[in-house]
């Protein structure tokens, strides 16, 4: 058990490096969806909230804290994913074959 915090710290360090590598090349167009999508992931605290709310125990205060946490984390998760999806559904590429560099005769629609 003594080593457990160290293992968790390993996970922490490697995940942070992974996060930096994953995100470093996101085009500016996607900054908002990236942010709200990442925010939805941070709702993972829901898992902890479930443990707190569902554990068997006499202490009503712990259950109340856990239940409130479940509520807020679910708002975060459900709202975060749905709003990200709604935004991403709006992003579209130009319909015609002309690229933005070509100056002549755009044939949209």
């Amino acid at each position: 058990m003594e080593l457990l915090p160290v293992y968790l710290a390993f996970i922490l360090a490697l995940s942070i490096f992974l996060g930096f590598e994953l995100i470093s090349k996101v085009p500016a167009t996607l900054h908002t969806p990236l942010m709200s999508g990442a925010n939805a992931i941070s709702g993972i605290t829901l898992v902890g909230a479930l443990f707190a709310a569902g554990a068997e125990g006499p202490d009503w205060l712990a259950t109340a804290l856990g239940t409130t946490a479940v509520f807020f984390a679910t708002v975060n998760v459900v709202g975060g994913y749905l709003v990200t999806d709604r935004m991403l559904a709006m992003f579209r590429k130009r319909a015609g074959p002309s690229q933005s560099g070509a100056a002549s005769e755009p044939q949209d629609k």
């Binding site: 968790l8 996970i11 922490l12 995940s15 942070i16 996060g19 994953l22 470093s24 500016a28 167009t29 996607l30 900054h31 908002t32 969806p33 990236l34 942010m35 999508g37 990442a38 925010n39 992931i41 993972i44 605290t45 898992v47 902890g48 909230a49 479930l50 443990f51 707190a52 709310a53 569902g54 554990a55 068997e56 125990g57 205060l61 259950t63 804290l65 946490a69 479940v70 509520f71 807020f72 984390a73 679910t74 708002v75 975060n76 998760v77 459900v78 709202g79 975060g80 994913y81 749905l82 709003v83 709604r86 935004m87 559904a89 709006m90 579209r92 590429k93 933005s100 755009p106 949209d108």
Partner: protein, 463 residues
């Protein structure tokens, strides 16, 4: 929580989160990436519900259904222009959830969760509980203040008062003292715990208050990072690896975005967080005469142009002008003109704000050009149309070393042949800095509400 199947499910969830985040980096794959990450979340939640530590379901069901309804309604109903407020609120709800999870870990009753030994809470666990309460609390109250500023419930400028640093320092020192006393004798009913909680909330308010409107993109992405770190700390408090992995991924992502925002303003994070920019001193007074133009004359110039770039700012969001801007752009394209939209990284009130608004108005994302690309070809642009943007096109950032925004990279619209600035009146921008661009030889001011002005341009082009 030691169940092998549960942990394997967490592993699968972590892999899906990583793939999902990766795919969020490319416009064509982003939507699938988000769905993948949602699937990961579903796996993690279902596996948790099946774990043998969870025995009572009625409260979970009530809270989860209520949360899902609130979240879904909010996501469905929010206007795209109100997206910064929405993101702030979601950040806040993640923050308070982590705070509550950390607090619940104090109780031996939640045996499945906390690493409570027979003898009580270890100092390590006590420290991580403190961290999750601290970060979660700062995220929560900071997000509420940010939301208040964005929704104009609170004054949106930077609030700086004498002795602010002293107060912050005092709160910080008190946090440290109370934290140490709590860690020495951790208990759910410790008065020091309540003190830490209150101080953390106060610190969040104090941290967000001195940051003004144009700096909001930095705050929003920083709070996003904090919400991840709070989940991460809660993960340590309850020894849960999926919380640590996901929380730190989000934390790192938020830091990167924050860094991009700071670079786009040529300022350090410390400077953004503590300087109270909006209330700062202003640079050299700009003198000169502005040259107004009528919509009809501007329409004639646009009709003759072969390359037009739109430079939107927060003013476009306020005026809800994105749809008419797109209509004008299409009209110009039909006229054989090359139309681009130049987006400054900190235009608007959150990272990527303008991109979302233009996407809502059906502007294809390959027509949006980033700052460096458009600056390279600005000399070939016939007309640059500045819509409700000010600081991001301020030439003082290049030329006047006494200006508070000196050194900030800008979209160099003054290098275009003609510049139209759509502006309500001659008030200065959010940073409170005068803009020499307005007095430039090739600048014409089109005064009035942005939406009405664009509509007038459309009418004159159609005439």
């Amino acid at each position: 929580m030691s169940d092998l199947p549960v942990n394997l499910a967490y592993l699968a969830a972590a892999v899906l989160f990583v793939f999902g985040l990766k795919m969020l980096g490319s416009p064509s794959a982003a939507r699938r990436g988000n769905a993948l990450s949602a699937a990961g979340m579903l796996i993690a939640v279902v596996a948790t519900l099946l774990a043998r530590d969870i025995v009572a379901f009625h409260w979970i069901a009530v809270a989860a259904v209520a949360g899902a309804v609130v979240g879904a309604l909010a996501a469905r109903l929010v206007a795209m222009t109100a997206m910064p407020e929405m993101v702030a609120l979601f950040n806040g709800s993640g923050g308070i959830a982590s705070l509550l999870v950390g607090s619940a870990a104090l109780f031996p009753a939640t045996a499945g969760v906390s690493s409570v030994d027979a003898g009580g809470i270890s100092m390590f666990t006590a420290t991580t509980i403190l961290l999750s309460v601290l970060i979660g609390g700062v995220t929560f109250s900071g997000s509420i203040v940010a939301w208040g500023k964005l929704a104009a419930v609170l004054p949106s400028g930077a609030l700086v008062f004498a002795g602010q640093r002293l107060v912050n320092g005092g709160i910080f020192a008190a946090l440290l003292v109370c934290g140490v006393f709590f860690a020495l004798a951790p208990a759910p009913d410790s008065p020091y715990f309540i003190a830490v909680l209150v101080l953390a909330l106060a610190l969040g308010v104090m941290a967000a208050v001195p940051i003004g409107g144009a700096d909001m993109p930095v705050v929003i992405s920083l709070l996003n990072s904090y919400s991840g770190l709070a989940a991460c700390a809660a993960g340590f408090a309850i020894n849960n690896n999926i919380l640590i992995v996901s929380g730190s991924l989000v934390g790192a992502a938020g830091i990167i975005l924050t860094n991009i925002m700071c670079k786009a303003m040529n300022r350090s994070l410390v400077n953004v967080l503590f300087s109270g920019f909006g209330a700062a001193k202003s640079g050299a007074k700009v003198e000169g005469e502005v040259k107004p133009i009528s919509a009809d004359d501007a329409g004639l110039i646009l009709e003759a142009a072969s390359a037009v770039t739109f430079v939107p700012g927060y003013g476009m969001a306020v005026a809800q002008a994105q749809h008419v801007v797109h209509e004008l752009g299409e009209l110009l394209e039909e006229n054989g003109c090359e139309v681009t939209y130049a987006i400054h990284p900190v235009a608007g009130r959150m990272p990527g704000h303008m991109n979302v608004l233009l996407a809502e108005a059906n502007v294809p994302y390959d027509q949006l050009v980033e700052m460096d690309d458009i600056n390279r070809r600005m000399a070939n642009v016939d007309v640059a149309v500045v819509i409700g943007a000010n600081d991001v096109v301020n030439t003082a950032a290049r030329e006047d070393d006494s200006s508070p925004i000196y050194g900030m990279p800008t979209i160099n619209v003054d290098h275009a042949r003609t510049v139209f600035v759509l502006k309500r009146s001659m008030a200065s921008g959010f940073a409170g800095v005068d803009n020499p661009l307005f007095f430039g030889a090739n600048t014409r001011m089109l005064f009035g509400d942005a939406k009405a002005s664009i509509a007038a341009l459309i009418a004159s082009l159609k005439a």
